[in-house]
């Protein structure tokens, strides 16, 4: 029976090619517009590290001025930590994988001077970083704890930089020059570029992958400066690049990996103790406030999905609803156009259910074809947007889940559109159109 | 009232030419009640369409109410249909979405009459057909005979000089058909010229003259004795 209904649906689609293509076109266009905006939304609001997002926690400590809270974030705490707090946490916090970090703008070159100078963004971080965030090593490993403690000049390269400086060969043991100092390569990782780049959202949520990683123990001795945000409520004492290391300015990100609620509680407990201790020492003049937020919470606190993005999704769904109304009208047109045939079918013994089902099968076929075409339009639209705008490519990428979503959305929209016309036509009495 | 001289109507498709009317001649005088009969395909409907200015013809001359209408454009023909001709169709052709009153009003609207004038004419026409009380009903709520009476009221409201009826009883049972015939006869007796296409021999006998169409031409004309009397009355 279902096969027969598919045959009828196919015949009917071919019988009114203009009406059929209008319906399919309307659904496809609605799906296309919706999916383009949903794609951008989904990738922005998506989980950048799904298998670990509930175990990685951003640490916040309210080190701000006693006069007024920090206003830039939704939870009224600075997004970043001061250097003294970061080092205190790294030295004294319970023994979980954790690290402070920041990015820096540096100039790199091959060991022998005279080659081209390249300015790159470099992440200064602890050795736990690589395992915490699941970076994938191609060659070598992270620097050892010993190297970090001794502040050895070692570096982990990204694949791109390794390709350019060492032609993609295993460069472990080789040396390069960074800001005119010699560093020994201990590892090479695949380019790491999560979208959004949740681990450091201070300068926007989409950035190019970082070129290399240096041990954070080097940063103060070498007076490395951040290329990210520095926020201060109190002037630093002294001047020069070292001053910021003693200041109350916040400029380092801090992450910790905690496996379960107990560990979270333990860590939070430590933070509260630390806060109280610093208060007694005369720092932290605000009421006690610390936070550990997992990746999802962190993305919310940082309001990663932009308003424009949400507005577009809203508009796109209104667009889809216009397409649905449109399709309802066209379907009604089409179905009523063959009332007589339906009337005869009813007279020949088709029940209301059969008629309803026959039409719903036709509607679903339209939805399916419209969905496929809509996917194609989505793909084409994303390509045009990639070409015509500055929207980062990482946001314009269709994955399997999105494709499935497009098809489901198309089917739901067409079914919603087809329900009333099908029901309406199912109510036609067998006798109605048989009289002349 | 109406004179058709050597009217021809040719339907062309890519392959065939069909002569629906060939050198068709007919004269109808004011006050006549003419019935037109003939087998199906003989050209009855074509004749009616041309007589009612619903359709063009290929050759010949047609004078209606003293006016040569052969070369008139669409707007002028619409005006003549609206002012001089009343139509009664086999399938009534009431507009299903409009109530009785609004249906009768349709031709009056196109004539651009004032609301007051329209109201008076509608009331009068509906009372002639005896449906004044049903003014607010929809066509679907009436029986076939009542619907045809609404159609007659619609035709009468414009006070036409010529009434064209196309199988007016074709969709009705015999009792209702008789009522419609009586209505037509009383309209005729008030002086309106009527041309009625029918295939019902009994009905055609009640007209003052019968025109038989065969292969697109008038084949015989039966004069009834009654005609003289009616003409005299008029």
């Amino acid at each position: 029976m279902l096969l027969y209904e598919f045959k009828l649906a196919f015949k009917s689609l071919r019988k009114n090619p203009i009406l059929s293509s209008l319906m399919i076109g309307a659904i496809a266009l609605g799906i296309g517009v919706c999916m383009i905006t949903v794609t951008m939304f989904y990738l922005m609001s998506g989980d950048p590290i799904p298998h670990k997002s509930d175990r990685l926690f951003a640490v916040q400590i309210d080190s701000w001025s006693k006069e007024r809270p920090y206003t830039g974030s939704t939870n009224e705490m600075p997004f970043q930590l001061t250097w003294p707090d970061s080092t205190a946490l790294m030295n004294r916090a319970p023994d979980f994988p954790q690290t402070a970090m920041f990015k820096s703008s540096m100039i790199i070159e091959q060991l022998q001077q005279g080659s081209e100078l390249r300015r790159e963004i470099v992440r200064i971080t602890g050795r736990d970083f690589f395992s915490m965030f699941d970076l994938e090593f191609i060659y070598g490993t992270s620097w050892t704890e010993e190297m970090e403690q001794q502040a050895q000049q070692v570096v982990v390269l990204s694949e791109t930089v390794n390709n350019e400086l060492f032609n993609g060969q295993d460069s472990v043991g080789e040396s390069i020059r960074v800001d005119d100092r010699e560093y020994r390569v201990v590892g090479v990782v695949k380019d790491w570029n999560p979208v959004p780049n949740f681990y450091d959202l201070n300068n926007g949520s989409i950035e190019d992958p970082e070129a290399m990683y240096l041990p954070i123990s080097l940063s103060e001795p070498l007076a490395m400066t951040t290329a990210g945000n520095t926020n201060c409520w109190k002037p630093s004492t002294g001047s020069g690049p070292q001053a910021v290391y003693q200041s109350e300015c916040v400029w380092t990100q801090y992450w910790v990996e905690l496996k379960n609620a107990d560990e979270v509680a333990e860590y939070r407990n430590f933070l509260e103790g630390y806060y109280a201790e610093q208060q007694q020492l005369g720092r932290f003049e605000r009421p006690q406030k610390v936070a550990v937020s997992n990746v999802r919470e962190w993305l919310n606190i940082n309001q990663v999905v932009e308003n424009d993005n949400r507005v577009l999704v809203g508009l796109a769904f209104m667009f889809l609803s216009v397409c649905v109304f449109n399709t309802v009208g066209l379907m009604l047109t089409k179905f009523l156009g063959r009332s007589k045939e339906t009337s005869i079918r009813r007279a020949l013994g088709a029940t209301r259910m059969t008629i309803l089902r026959q039409h719903l099968v036709e509607v679903s076929s339209i939805g399916f074809v419209g969905g496929i075409l809509g996917l194609f339009l989505t793909w084409a639209g994303l390509s045009v947007i990639k070409f015509a705008t500055d929207i980062p490519e990482q946001l314009l990428h269709l994955d399997l889940q999105l494709m499935a979503l497009a098809l489901i959305l198309a089917l739901l929209a067409t079914l919603a559109a087809g329900l009333y016309p099908s029901w309406h036509i199912g109510r036609i009495s067998p006798a109605r159109y048989l009289r002349t | 009232m109406l004179a058709m001289n050597n009217i021809s109507k040719v339907f062309r498709t890519d392959l065939v030419e069909t002569h629906a009317l060939r050198d068709f001649n007919l004269q109808v005088n004011e006050g006549e009640f003419v019935s037109v009969t003939g087998p199906s395909g003989s050209g009855k409907t074509t004749f009616l369409n041309i007589a009612g200015l619903l359709d063009d013809f290929s050759h010949g001359q047609y004078v209606l109410d003293g006016e040569d209408v052969s070369g008139l454009n669409d707007n002028e023909r619409s005006r003549i249909r609206n002012e001089k001709i009343g139509f009664i169709f086999q399938s009534f052709n009431l507009i299903p979405d409009l109530n009785i009153r609004d249906n009768v009003e349709v031709p009056l609207r196109y004539r651009g009459l004032s609301a007051n004038d329209r109201r008076q004419r509608i009331e009068k026409a509906l009372s002639i057909v005896g449906l004044a009380s049903r003014a607010k009903h929809l066509p679907a709520q009436l029986s076939g005979g009542q619907q045809q009476r609404v159609a007659i009221a619609r035709a009468l409201a414009g006070e036409p000089r010529l009434l064209l009826a196309d199988e007016p009883t074709g969709n009705l049972d015999s009792m209702m058909a008789r009522q419609i015939m009586e209505l037509l006869e009383s309209i005729h007796s008030n002086g309106t010229t009527i041309i009625m296409v029918t295939h019902d021999a009994e009905l055609s006998r009640r007209a003052t003259r019968n025109v038989h169409i065969m292969d697109g031409q008038v084949s015989e004309i039966n004069l009834h004795e009654q005609m003289q009397a009616n003409v005299a009355q008029a």
Binding site: G329 | F87, V106
Partner: protein
């Protein structure tokens, strides 16, 4: 006109009319709000920046190596850049306006326990700063060579004077002449010596974009920006020489982002212009869909009413009267849809205002959207209506 009978006929065939009306309503809601957003972004992108956008080249320099005499290097660079034919003024800066990177400080007209600090963009420039940016000094005086302080950690001396934008002056010294006043920061104080009419700061989407202060100071360090003003028409020529000129002096450094200020702005306003492009496309497609929908349903309704149209023609309706019937019918449906649409548009806008910090819709977008949809509706229905007017009156005598 025949509005009453058309209306009553329409009410008997509600579904089609309701569908079109709903489409029109949603379309109006989307179109008005989208137009509003598009216009706002257009306004944002095109507001005057106060700077000579087309004749300024900017660049960022980063040195490599430990024992660089930055002050000497910078002085040599400034000299060499000024010598490029077509260059009129050069200044160092801590940041490039409109670039998305920069520095902001809290400033105030006083310093007490509960001072409200006003976040203000801070640009550290030389005595040529105003001319290099093409700013318009409206009162007070420009910097002189004596105002400029080259920061030296050994001496730890800061600048004494500051020039502020009119927007900042009005904000912190309302109804007063700011020239001569003291501008406080939490660690220092400056004397206002001049006011510039307008200058845009670093972050184009920040509400404090127009609140800026210009401080005559240079921080010699491993990286600095140069702002180069050129004669009109020579910008590209100058731009192409900047890199080589600087590398010829010292090649142990990277010269980056050599851009005309106009291009800096275009790239910073990228997300706004993208929004405009996307919204315009959505509006066009939506209008297209709506037109197609109206054409489809009108064509169906004409088809269904062929006999009725023939009857009307037989009863004396002229072609234009049939045409008019359908136009009026559509106009009525559109108007009903638009009435609903006004509510929907306002509700949608209210939602956007509450949840997305958008501004209230200006009222005239609604009549504008309505006019567009009215015209579009008539345009869409004209085809089917014209076909209806061509129906032959002879249809009426045809038996079903």
């Amino acid at each position: 006109m025949e509005i009453r009978p058309i209306l009553s006929a329409m009410l008997r065939n509600k579904t089609g009319a309701i569908l079109i009306a709903l489409q029109i309503a949603f379309t109006l809601a989307v179109v008005t709000n989208a137009f509003f957003i598009i216009y706002q972004r257009w306004e944002k992108i095109n507001r005057p920046s106060g700077m000579d956008m087309h004749n300024i080249v900017t660049s960022r320099v980063q040195w490599v190596g430990q024992d660089v005499d930055y002050k000497a290097e910078i002085l040599r660079d400034l000299e060499a850049l000024k010598a490029i034919p077509g260059v009129t003024h050069v200044t160092t800066s801590n940041a490039i306006p409109l670039s998305g990177g920069g520095s902001s400080r809290g400033v105030s007209a006083e310093r007490t326990e509960d001072t409200e600090w006003t976040a203000t963009g801070s640009f550290l420039l030389t005595q040529d700063g105003l001319d290099s940016l093409g700013l318009n000094l409206v009162s007070g005086r420009n910097f002189t060579l004596n105002d400029v302080v080259w920061f030296d950690p050994e001496v730890d001396e800061l600048a004494q004077n500051v020039i502020i934008t009119q927007a900042l002056a009005e904000h912190i010294y309302p109804d007063e002449n700011a020239v001569g006043k003291t501008l406080y920061m939490n660690d220092s104080e400056l004397t206002v010596i001049g006011i510039v009419e307008r200058m845009h700061g670093s972050w184009v989407s920040w509400s404090g974009l127009e609140r800026n202060m210009l401080v005559p100071m240079v921080f010699p360090g491993s990286s600095i920006s140069y702002i180069i003003r050129t004669q009109p028409g020579l910008t590209e020529e100058v731009r192409s020489q900047v890199k080589q000129t600087l590398l010829d002096i010292n090649n142990r450094r990277v010269i980056r982002r050599i851009r005309v200020l106009e291009d800096v702005a275009t790239s910073s306003y990228g997300s706004d212009s993208d929004m405009m492009v996307i919204l315009s496309s959505v509006v066009c497609l939506l209008l297209l869909i709506t037109v197609v929908g109206i054409v489809g349903l009108a064509a169906f309704s004409v088809n269904q009413r062929t006999r009725q149209i023939g009857t009307r023609r037989a009863l004396g309706a002229r072609r234009y009267q049939i045409l008019r019937y359908f136009l009026v019918e559509n106009w009525l449906i559109t108007s009903i849809g638009l009435t609903l649409g006004v509510l929907l548009a306002s509700a949608f806008n209210y939602y956007l205002v509450v949840h997305f910090e958008l501004e209230r819709l200006d009222w005239f977008y609604i009549p504008m959207g309505m006019a567009i949809l009215w015209l579009l509706g008539l345009f869409a229905v004209y085809g089917p209506a014209r076909r209806a007017s061509m129906v032959s009156p002879a249809i009426a005598t045809r038996t079903v």
